[in-house]
Amino acid sequence: MTEAEDRAQYADQNAALHRLFDPVLTEPLPARMYMRRPAWHGYARAAGLLVAGIAIGLALPLLRPAQGVTVATAAPLPIRAARAHLVYSPEVRHPVEVDAKDQDHLVKWLSKRLGLPLKVPVLATEGFELLGGRLLPGPDGPVAQFMYQDASGKRLTLYVSRPHAGDKVTAFRFAQDNGVSVFYWIDDDCGYALSGEVDKPTLARVANSVYHQIEQ
């Protein structure tokens, strides 16, 4: 074969390889590839908010809309949170069980049921006011959901759960499920997930504030 024929053959091979395997480039990453970060985790806990901010900043451009995180277990924390958000956030008359007016009672009640001292983040500076909260069934027991609303009626929910067996300790992560965006993190005794049908930068900003207030 001549050199030119070789080159044409090689170009054909390259093209066939790309047709065959380029679709892999845009497949959603399995959740485990985001979540298992042994070396990074300790650093994240030590550096706290700074690292969370970097994680958000770096994660945002990598995340493609309308692609779910492929989940390794039946229903990981962000998926449970997103589903709870979908169920309760459209409620007009009964979005919460206990109104924010009774905030002290709300926090005591949910803390007692979860067996955890809960803190309710104040998100007024982010434009979101607490509506109230409710108790939900989780895979291993009760789960708390706090609901916030902004002036335009957009709602965010904060899902607080004891970690389920399949929930690995993880630093700040992003997931999407059924159009609901979720920022979440799981520490040793509690998992937190902030869900909303809002744009990612907005959710990231609010989640950052939640993370800051809870992990201080």
């Binding site: 091979q13 066939a16 990598l62």
Partner: protein, 166 residues
């Protein structure tokens, strides 16, 4: 240096792994093992081409997996390869390419994929696989030639049970 510097390379590592081992789950296991090893070995990385470094780690993991699996002969590996990806496009050349890749020995397959799919320079391939550039070139030309025969329908399979008598 942290994990976030690696994240942008994950899609390419997955594509390469899928082409290299065929089966989707086995490929993602290879990627996962590579990522974990990379995180553990961060301190050994010298600022430079992070991509070549990651592919060199994947190469080492892949070779270890082959050794681990090679309790019998390489027939076992060929059987795994048959559980190949379902192509999204089923044009004839694509199917031939898939079979052709399976017919290459792993050493040739690595070089062909790094050059033809990942668009690496010979120098980068040499670094990633830890072999001299001359070896890169000879494996590449032998691999390319074998693929050419497959694409042209001029086929000799490595698996004797599937050999096409000419």
């Amino acid at each position: 240096m942290d994990y976030n510097q690696i994240v942008p390379f994950i899609p390419n590592l997955r594509r390469y792994a899928r082409a290299l081992v065929g089966d989707r789950d086995a490929a993602d296991d290879l990627v996962q093992d590579t990522l974990e090893r990379a995180v553990r070995k961060f301190h050994l990385w010298r600022p430079g081409d992070l991509r070549a470094w990651l592919f060199s780690i994947m190469h080492n993991v892949f070779v270890n997996q082959l050794k681990g699996r090679k309790t019998g002969t390489h027939v076992e590996i060929d059987e795994n390869m048959v559980a190949a990806p379902i192509p999204t496009a089923t044009s004839v050349d694509v199917l031939d390419m898939q079979r052709g890749l399976q017919a290459l020995v792993p050493e040739q397959r690595e070089v062909v994929l790094l050059v033809a799919l990942e668009d690496m320079s010979y120098a980068d391939v040499s670094r990633a696989l830890g072999i001299p550039i001359g070896t890169v070139m000879s494996r590449l030309s032998r691999g390319r030639e074998k693929l050419r025969k497959f694409m042209a329908g001029d086929v000799t399979r490595t698996n004797p049970s599937l050999r096409i008598v000419q």
